[in-house]
Amino acid sequence: MSDFGDISGRDEDEFLVAEYALGLLTPAEYDVLGNRLRHEPALRADLRFWRSRLSSLDNEFAEVAAPAGVWPAIERRLFAERSAARTGFWNSLNLWRGFSAVAALVAIVAIGVNVSTPRPDPNAFAAQVVAALSAQGSNVSVVALYNTNTGRLRLTALSGDAVPDKDYELWAIEGSDAPKSMGVIAVSGSKEMSLTPDELQGFGAGTTLAITLEPKGGSPTGKPTGAIVAAGKATQI
């Protein structure tokens, strides 16, 4: 620093240390010197020198009795504010009582809901019904997987060709009952559908699923009219 022509090198360091001791350095300078102090014992000796000498300045603090009015003024400020604040909205005892009552209620309800909500049964995942649908002389092949947890039926078409102006329709047959239509299905890709309560009736292992080729839009009579292109019995897995 050119400001200090007579001050350089070793002295500059010593000033930095003195300024460090006085807390006059910028945070950046402070960090740099802090690092150097860790590695340079000479600087640490300087710091000890300045700290011990400067501590003699501590005696310059003279004990002074506080003016008589100070203590009452402090008390006034503390307690006047407190009693004034006590009437405030946020300090209302009823507010906090009410708040904690509401919070407790929320906690009870939350715990109750948590406890009463059934955990998904790890075994339930296996509670599925599967049917492989196929028939001789037809290339339509579909796998149906029914999840008893979600009540959803997933149809995955393994093969099958769409026929112009025709639709494939899925039927569920329980024993000797009349086939129940489960709607028109595509014979490509995978599709998931929810079963209606009516469709769910009696649906499960033992149900025969069948696919027929019907006029566009499905059977006009509500009963299968076309040839069965694929069928299979549902089995619990």
Partner: protein, 53 residues
Amino acid sequence: LAKLDAEKADAVRGAYLDGYSYEELSERHNVPLNTMRTWLRRSLLKLRECLSA
């Protein structure tokens, strides 16, 4: 400290006892910051001489 100019001694006291920064000291004593730094360093130099003696 008694051997320093009253004003410069005050600056050292201000830094040590009151924790003033160079900015605050230069404002209080109404001198540029660099001048304040020079002042203080001269004072420290003098102080060191006195103190080590």
